[in-house]
């Protein structure tokens, strides 16, 4: 465990934690401006989190240790997953990086959220949990196919290795990654519960998927859950950015290069956030049982991407 690894273990999750409320805030502002209203201030999510940490925690009488323990496990698994996607610099260690392990750590965090939704015995929670697991199951083949496509093109299953390979090549050496980028974008939309899959701003029971699961959380636990969702979004965005446009990522951990890399990544992240906000404003939410058709198209696209790679 050398200096490089220690800095990486502290810095990467911290970067994700600090940046995620800003990203969420920017998406909300972009959507609001397109809808013609001023919208909340961009730093609103930070104020929201600070407020939640001061509120009381309310537990239901029917709930068990799951709802008490769930948020801790959720944020712990999500921050561990954030260690797998280098955002500022690529570490020397080989401990983290397997792409399948990355996605499955996120599924574990989701699993405990789903159990928490069922714990209080309310109908909304059960409904949200059931839909979340359905959507998560159906998008999984697309996710694994995109992992396979990345592994085929870049000849490795370790995410830091992939970024290193991409940095060493030129912008035109892997053009099929544009297509993988499209699949990753769809996965980003699904995992961070954005329109057209799920509306993160609704609280009507017939239209919520992710929000319904966390209805029973309150106070600091709710802050942890929101942070976990934010980190998930940030980390997936980082993966998408670094796969399609990795320049700016530092190969070494010098102080000046770190600062430059952090600023570059923040700028790229905010541009992608604005794009996501724009994309959300252009589409309407798809009906729940039309989602499998939509995912089938995404699966078809990633399948033929891999087929093209194989038939080269």
């Amino acid at each position: 465990m050398n200096w490089n690894t220690a800095v990486y273990i502290v810095m990467n999750p911290l970067f994700a934690l600090v940046l995620s409320p800003l990203v969420l805030g920017l998406i909300k502002t972009v959507k609001a401006r397109i809808q013609g209203r001023p919208g909340p201030p961009v730093l609103q999510q930070y104020y929201q989190l600070r407020k939640l940490f001061h509120k009381e925690i309310v537990y239901s009488e029917d709930s068990s240790f799951i709802v008490r323990l769930g948020p801790y496990l959720g944020i712990a698994f999500m921050l561990t997953a954030s260690l797998f996607v280098p955002m500022v610099f690529i570490p020397q260690t080989g401990w983290f990086g397997n792409i399948i392990l990355f996605f499955y750590l996120m599924i574990t965090a989701k699993f405990f959220m789903v159990l928490g939704g069922l714990d209080a015995g309310s109908t909304f929670g059960g409904m949200g949990s059931s839909r979340e697991m359905t959507v998560s199951s159906i998008i999984e083949p697309v996710t694994i196919m995109s992992c396979a496509a990345l592994a085929f093109v870049l000849k490795t299953t370790s995410i830091p290795e992939m970024f290193r390979t991409l940095l060493a090549g030129s912008i035109f050496s892997y053009p099929t990654l544009i297509l993988v980028g499209i699949s990753l974008f769809i996965i980003l939309i699904v995992e961070s519960a954005r329109v057209p899959v799920d509306n993160p701003e609704t609280h009507l029971e017939l239209t919520m998927i992710h929000e319904a699961m966390i209805l029973e959380q309150s106070g600091p636990k709710l802050a942890l859950v929101e942070l976990a969702s934010g980190v998930r979004q940030t980390v997936l965005m980082a993966l998408l950015i670094n796969v399609t446009f990795p320049w700016g990522l530092a190969g070494l951990a010098g102080c000046a290069s770190l600062l430059l890399a952090a600023v570059t990544m923040a700028v790229k992240m905010l541009i992608l956030a604005a794009t996501v906000g724009l994309f959300e404003s252009l589409l309407a939410k798809i009906r729940f049982f039309r989602l499998p058709d939509f995912f089938m198209i995404a699966l078809f696209l990633s399948f033929i991407t891999i087929v093209f790679e194989l038939l080269r």
Partner: protein, 661 residues
């Protein structure tokens, strides 16, 4: 594993192993006989003593197996030699002892579990039979995997099937148990016939009954033997389309027997497949494709069928089918990669499949045991009647949660550790060079991904509906925690699940170094540290905690009817996969007259089409019934016809003698 070599040399170790093996076997045999002594005055003391003896027996054999694995020995022992060809001999090498350890360890915990579980049955005499049958079943399974001749293999296989049949038929008075038992028996006998056919073919080609490398087999002979082996082993392992007996048998039998059957008996055919593929034949490519195809379909359909079940044990049985499918997929991939010479991927697949066998045995038996405690406490197997059990049975609930996380392939537990080996093999297989095969592999990868997330969804449903929220019936609210033995046994298995998951990289590196696998130990440590840090940070905020009732939109008193039900939870997925669950509408009408104008009675039914049962099994069964009917008609004739048959038979024999000799 590196143990310091003792100065006494290898022969001493062999002697120790031999003696442990025979002693263990003898103890199990004693445990079989003991409860049956003094049957007219069934004694609880004798039964408990028998269970302890069985514990010692399984412990001894497992110790022998562990010694063999750690020292990499290869022993040949003989029990009985009828002729030099037909002998009941055993071979203890690393592969068979791996399976012996699996069987022994899980049986050890199952026996601990049985110590208090058997007590709740009513009839004293049947309890003695249960204890005795358990011992015999375990002994038979241990001897099957240790056999080194096909003769011995088949002999102990039959003993295993017979003893498990009697154990399944334990609750004789219920009609569903009878149906389950007969179904199981006929399916397992069919499998045995195919095994017998393949062993006889093997004897014809190689001239010996030994399970060892076979050469000089013509190509068509190899293929034929493989197909009948696959059908024979596939029937016992629950590969689709031979799987139908599994849900019935597992739900009808007592829970300790289900744990043994699902956790251990399903692994014995896997041992058979692995042994024959690795040691006996050099497999062809199409074998791998067949295994991959049937394995993927089994995995996918198994978990999809599991979703609709609200009988707890049937759901667990279908999940077993799914995991067996994953293991067969691993075997198929091994054959394919081995054929093309991709050593790293082939190693990943075979070790992944074997590791998954071990892991499945651990977590499935743990799940069945906790499920048995739940069923015993609430008196029903229906998930929809349970709920809120985590407050009443916290220990059972926590152990079930660990098992559910393991089977849902959540890192860093062992279910994920073995599945990632197969995923890693898929993802690094880009150097095959045959695009068509690679496209098939990609389809298999998509199916595997879908299967593992559906398993997570299924167990989120199972754990959530059974243990969380409010009780849905009076029986559930009156449930009590299980006795200590019924917590200890699955608890040991659950702890092993966690251990094997977190230390998976270290374990696999000891067995075979250089495999490109992620290390789970740092992950586990980091998760623990982060959880602790967050917990401490939250304590600093000193938020007040308040308890109130769940928000129910203002309804003053909430009952169990307001929570989500199991059927509701699985409804979206069932709707998405609707083509798999076909519904069948049946309507019958009876009339008084022949012009069908005065109705007498009518009935209508909408149900799930049991596809394999109705479209595949029943027509085959009817066909055989017709043949059996025709044959029995031949019997019901008078004396003269019988003499006529003998006359024809004698003439044919004379002709045969003249022609062939």
């Amino acid at each position: 594993m590196d143990f310091p070599e003792f100065s006494s040399g290898i022969e001493d170790k062999e002697a120790v192993v031999q003696s442990l093996f025979w002693v263990g076997g003898a103890l199990c045999l004693v445990a079989t006989i003991l409860p049956l002594v003094l049957l007219f005055r069934p004694s609880r003391l004798l039964r408990q003593a028998a269970l302890w003896v069985l514990l010692a027996g399984t412990g001894a054999i497992s110790a022998a197996a562990i010694l063999v694995i750690s020292r990499s020995l290869d022993l040949h022992l003989t029990l009985l030699s009828i002729t030099p060809q037909l002998a009941l001999s055993f071979r203890l090498d690393k592969l068979s002892c791996f399976f012996v350890v699996i069987i022994g360890a899980v049986s050890f915990c199952a026996v601990i579990y049985s110590m208090t579980y058997i007590a709740h049955y009513k009839s004293e005499r049947s309890k003695q039979f249960l204890a005795s049958g358990l011992a015999f079943f375990i002994l038979a399974m241990l001897l099957v995997v240790a056999s080194s001749t096909t003769f011995g293999f088949l002999f102990f296989w039959e003993l295993m099937s017979l003893s498990s049949f009697f154990l399944v038929m334990f609750d004789l008075d219920k009609p569903e148990t009878q149906k389950a038992g007969i179904f199981y028996f006929s399916m397992t006998q069919m499998g045995t016939i195919f095994l017998l056919a393949s062993f006889l073919l093997l004897y014809r080609f190689t001239g010996s009954f030994d399970i060892s490398a076979a050469s000089n087999i013509p190509q068509w002979g190899k293929g034929l033997v493989f197909v009948s082996l696959f059908i024979g082993f596939g029937t016992k392992a629950g590969i689709i389309p031979f799987h139908k007996w599994l849900p019935y048998a597992h739900s009808a039998s007592p829970s300790n027997v289900s744990a043994l059957m699902s956790g251990v008996m399903l692994k014995v055919p896997i041992y058979g497949l692995v042994r024959f593929i690795i040691d006996v034949f050099r497999p062809d490519l199409w074998w791998g494709i067949v295994l991959l195809f049937f394995g993927s379909i089994t995995a996918l359909l198994g978990i999809i069928y599991a979703f609709k079940e609200h009988d707890l044990k049937k759901m667990l049985a279908y999940c077993s089918i799914e995991n067996l499918g994953v293991i067969v997929v691993g075997l198929g991939l091994y054959v394919i990669f081995d054929f093309y010479g991709l050593r790293v991927q082939a190693d990943l697949c075979i070790y992944g499949a074997l590791f998954h066998t071990l892991n499945h045995a651990l977590f499935k038996s743990s799940l069945f045991m906790t499920a048995g405690s739940v069923v015993q406490a609430t008196g029903t197997r229906d998930i929809e009647q349970m709920g809120g059990l985590i407050k009443r049975m916290p220990g059972t609930g926590a152990i079930f949660l660990v098992g559910a996380c393991a089977i849902a392939a959540l890192p860093p537990l062992n279910g994920f550790a073995s599945e990632i080996m197969i995923f890693q093999a898929y993802l690094t297989s880009f150097s095959l060079g045959r695009p068509i095969l690679e496209i098939l592999l990609m389809a298999g990868l998509a199916a595997l991904a879908l299967t593992s997330t559906l398993a997570a969804a299924c167990f989120a449903k199972a754990f959530g509906i059974i243990f969380l929220a409010r009780p849905r019936s009076g029986a559930a609210s009156a449930a009590k925690e299980a006795p200590f033995a019924q917590l200890l046994a699955p608890g040991i298995l659950a702890a092993l699940c966690v251990g094997f998951g977190v230390f998976s990289y270290q374990l696999i590196s000891n067995v075979k170094s250089g495999m490109p696998l992620p290390d789970m130990l740092p992950i586990g440590i980091i998760v623990l540290v982060l959880t602790g840090v967050t917990f401490l940070l939250l304590l600093l905020t000193r938020s007040p905690v308040r308890k109130t009732e769940t928000w129910g939109c203002g309804i003053p008193s909430q009952t169990g009817k307001m929570e989500y039900s199991g059927d509701g939870f699985s409804e979206p997925i069932v709707t998405v996969f609707k083509p798999v669950f076909r519904t069948r509408k049946l309507s019958t009408r009876e009339f008084y007259d022949k012009y069908n104008s005065i109705p007498k009675s009518s009935s209508g039914e909408i149900g799930t089409l049991k596809f394999f049962e109705e479209r595949l099994y029943v027509p085959i069964a009817r066909f055989f019934m017709k043949i059996a009917g025709a044959v029995s008609n031949l019997h019901n004739v008078d004396m003269d016809a019988l003499i006529l048959y003998s006359f024809i038979a004698v003439v044919l024999v004379i002709l045969g003698v003249g022609w062939w000799l």
